[in-house]
Each structure stands twice: as structure tokens, then as C-alpha cells.
């Protein structure tokens, strides 16, 4: 096992092969991008507070504050006046699996092809070009995904969830008050399941998508741009349901007061 302690701005070249990476930082920013070696290139461009421990153990690269473990990320409380900031940018082999745990820090994960997990309290999470499965949990941080082709699971309390140009086989999204905006161009069958309490749900799919639709909001308006989707309104149940195209995919949604809109893209 190799080990480094980072106390100041540093660049580390890690020659040992890296197959997975885990980063846990309190505030600041974490960047993960694909590199061109089988090892890793690590830049710490800002650091304030206790040192970061960097280890490589059997192909697993870990960059972390020692007292911040994965399970405590969402409940982490910074002691008053404690300063704990780091900006960590890492290039790893694209095939790596990645886990990022941050408290108030923002996270950027771009071009990583393994499975990606991000846990975060109030920072914003940005993912670009993920191929493997994507699992993101935030409390109030926004989550923005672009060009993701793996299965997506998102969970937030008040953050906004946005998928731009998504081609995933499945999307599971849960939000309390954050809006959920999905722009999907599925390459095959897609399964979408969204639950919100007060957040609006907006889904756009190509006009030719095969979807079995059943979405209900207790008090939020439902609206669809598709003729094949029927809207019904009884007290306590605003529903859209129907079949689009061959109906092979599924769109399920439940909301209490969120509004629901199903939109069509790619119309002539």
C-alpha cells in the first residue's frame, strides 16, 4: 500500500494502477476526469484545515479526510469556525468505479465509464458522459447529468434534478420539493419511475418512444403533448395514462402537489 499526506497545494503522479477511486472532502470541490495512464494524476490546488490522506491499496485510490467516512457524509457537521476546505482534481483511468462523498463541496465527474456514486449534502453535483450506473444522493444540492447512458438513480430532498440528453435504460428519481426535469433520448427500452412531494415533474421523450404511461398527482395539474395519453381529473387524482407507440417502455410517476408535464421532442 502506498500512502501520502497532503498538507499543501500539491501535484502527485501515482504510477500504481488504479481501478477504483474514492474521494471524501468536506467543502471545496472534487473533480474526477479520465486520464491517459493506468495510474492517477492528483492535483490539490487548495487546501485549508487538516491534511488529506491519499492511499493506493490493491488498485483502490482513496483521497479523504480520515474522520469523514462514506456512511457519515450526509450527517456530517462541521464544528463551528472549523475550516476544512480542499479543491481536489484527479485524473484516473476512465474504466474506474468512482465514489465521491462531499458535505458542502461541489462535485464534477466527467467521462468516467465505471459505476459512479455521489453522496452530498449541499454541494452541486455535475456528471458528464457516464456509461456505468449512476447513483446520486443529495440533501439540498442540485444534480445535473449530461449524456449519461447508464442506469440512473437520484435521490434528493430539495435539490433540482436535471438530466440533459439522457440515454439510460432506467431512471429512478425521488425528490421532496426539488423539481425533476428529464430530457431523454432512449436508445432502447426505458423505464422511468419518479416520485416527488411538491416538486414538478417534466419529462421529454422523442415522439416515437414506446411508453406505457401512468402518472398521478394528487393536486398538481397533469398535461401531455401526446394524443395517446388520456388525462383524467377527479378530486384527489389527476392522472395521465396511456400507451405511446409500442408501449414497451414504462413511465411511472407519483406526486402530491407537483405538476406533471409529458412533452415530445423531435417533432417535425
Amino acid at each position: 500500500m502506498s500512502e501520502w499526506t497532503v498538507r499543501e497545494r500539491t501535484v502527485l503522479e501515482i504510477a500504481e494502477p488504479v481501478r477504483s477511486v474514492e474521494v471524501r472532502v468536506v467543502s471545496g470541490r472534487v473533480d474526477l476526469v479520465p486520464g491517459d495512464s493506468e495510474g492517477a494524476h492528483l492535483e490539490v490546488t487548495e487546501i485549508d484545515g487538516p491534511p488529506l490522506r491519499v492511499t493506493v491499496d490493491n488498485g483502490r485510490l482513496t483521497v479523504a479526510h480520515e474522520d469523514l467516512d462514506w456512511s457519515s457524509v450526509l450527517g456530517f457537521r462541521l464544528r463551528s469556525r472549523e475550516r476544512r476546505r480542499a479543491v481536489v482534481s484527479i485524473a484516473v483511468p476512465a474504466s474506474c468505479d468512482a465514489s465521491v462523498g462531499v458535505v458542502t463541496a461541489d462535485a464534477v465527474v466527467a467521462g468516467i465509464e465505471g459505476d459512479v456514486r455521489v453522496r452530498c449534502v449541499s454541494g452541486d453535483v455535475t456528471l458528464d458522459g457516464a456509461v456505468g450506473s449512476v447513483h446520486v444522493q443529495t440533501v439540498s444540492g442540485d444534480v445535473e447529468l449530461r449524456d449519461v447512458t447508464g442506469a440512473i438513480a437520484l435521490n434528493t430532498v430539495s435539490g433540482e434534478l436535471t438530466i440533459v440528453d439522457g440515454r439510460p435504460p432506467s431512471v429512478q428519481a425521488k425528490s421532496v420539493s426539488g423539481d425533476v426535469t428529464l430530457d431523454l433520448r432512449p436508445s432502447g427500452t426505458v423505464e422511468v419511475d419518479v416520485t416527488t412531494v411538491s416538486g414538478d415533474l417534466t419529462v421529454r421523450v422523442p415522439a416515437t418512444t414506446g411508453l406505457d404511461v401512468d402518472v398521478v398527482s394528487t393536486s398538481g395539474e397533469v398535461a401531455s403533448a401526446f394524443d395517446g395519453v388520456e388525462l383524467s381529473k377527479r378530486p384527489g387524482v389527476h392522472r395521465m395514462s396511456g400507451r405511446l407507440g409500442d408501449g414497451t417502455g414504462r413511465l411511472r410517476g407519483r406526486s402530491v402537489s407537483g405538476r406533471v408535464a409529458l412533452l415530445a421532442s423531435g417533432q417535425p
Binding site: 486520464g35 494524476h41 455535475t126 398535461a223
Partner: protein, 205 residues
């Protein structure tokens, strides 16, 4: 330390720093550190010999001020820098293309496209909701029309029942002329009804 500088690039960058203004050695070192966000920290042992060599090539000269050597570019140095202006530009591009910068770019792009998407879809959702509401109102109107029509129809059938009853009870007491007149009233009423119903069919969408 990463290989930040290509061969000959440090030399060029030193000329650039001295072209900006005369500087002493320590200032040059700390500027190099600053510009590269701490990613490259050249030692005094690297920088001073370089400055001395540049001086012997006639590109740099120094004067002593307050006990320290302050270096500046000679005319020849400025010409050397001008000849390599393209390489200097590409060097500066390379230096800023660090992982951190790359990620910052990705973040900015994704955030912008997510923001554009949200506002585009919000607008589209608003329009679809408006259409759905308008449709709902049209359906409401149609439902109202139906109700009025069934009320009218039941009035009509009640009226017909009354006429029939009256006709049966009074038939023997009524003259043929009056029966003919009553028949005429009914016939005209039927024609009038037919006219009203057919014109409504044409008139409503």
C-alpha cells in the same frame, strides 16, 4: 512534480516575465509558482543559473538595486521573444489545461445546458398545460350543451304527452275544422323544430 515545462519552455517563460517589467530573481520564482497554481515550484537552484545563462547569451541584463540584482530584457531578448510568440501562446494554453481547469469547463458547460433545458421545458410545459386547459373548457361547454338539449327534449316529450291527452279527451267535442287547425299547428311546430335542429348542426363546430 509533473513535467509542466517542455524543453526550452522555461527559458521562454522567463523572457516573458522579464518583458512585462524588470524583476529580481526571487520575484521571478514566486511568479512562476503563482501562475501555475502551485503546480510547479521551481527552485532557486533552477532559476538563477537560467538567468545567468540568458545574460551570457545577451538576451537579459541586470543592474544592482538595493543590493539585489534586477533583471530586464535587452533588445535582443525582446526580438527572441517576438520570434517565439506562437510557442509562448501554446505554452500558456498547455499550462491552463490542467485537470482542475478541464473539470471547471465541463461543469460550466453542463450547468449552462441544464439551465437552458430547464427553461425550454418549463416554457413547453406551460404551453401544453394551457392547451390542456383550453381543451377542458371546450369539453365543459360541450357537456353544458348536452345538458340543455336533454332538458329541452324532455320538455318536448312532456308537451307531446299533454297534446295527445287533450286530443283524446276532447276529440268527440271538437269540430273537424278545429282538428285540422290543431294538426296544422303541430305540423308547423315540427317543421320549425327540424329547421332549428339542422341549423344548429351546421352552426356549431
Amino acid at each position: 512534480m509533473s513535467q509542466v515545462f517542455r524543453h526550452g519552455a522555461l527559458r521562454l517563460y522567463l523572457l516573458k516575465l522579464l518583458d512585462e517589467q524588470p524583476r529580481h530573481g526571487y520575484e521571478v520564482i514566486s511568479l512562476l509558482e503563482d501562475r501555475f497554481m502551485g503546480l510547479y515550484a521551481p527552485s532557486a537552484g533552477t532559476v538563477y543559473p537560467r538567468l545567468t545563462r540568458l545574460e551570457s547569451e545577451g538576451l537579459v541584463e541586470h543592474e544592482v538595486s538595493e543590493g539585489r540584482k534586477v533583471y530586464s530584457l535587452t533588445q535582443q531578448g525582446r526580438e527572441e521573444l517576438a520570434r517565439n510568440v506562437d510557442e509562448l501562446a501554446s505554452l500558456e494554453r498547455d499550462l491552463t489545461a490542467s485537470v482542475s481547469e478541464l473539470a471547471r469547463d465541463v461543469r460550466r458547460q453542463v450547468r449552462e445546458s441544464a439551465r437552458d433545458l430547464r427553461s425550454e421545458l418549463k416554457q413547453a410545459a406551460r404551453e401544453v398545460r394551457r392547451e390542456v386547459r383550453a381543451e377542458g373548457r371546450a369539453q365543459g361547454r360541450a357537456a353544458n350543451g348536452q345538458q340543455e338539449w336533454s332538458a329541452a327534449a324532455s320538455d318536448l316529450s312532456r308537451a307531446i304527452d299533454q297534446i295527445r291527452e287533450a286530443a283524446l279527451t276532447s276529440a268527440r267535442l271538437v269540430s273537424d275544422e278545429r282538428i285540422a287547425a290543431a294538426t296544422d299547428v303541430i305540423r308547423r311546430a315540427r317543421d320549425e323544430l327540424e329547421r332549428v335542429l339542422s341549423s344548429e348542426d351546421e352552426g356549431s363546430p
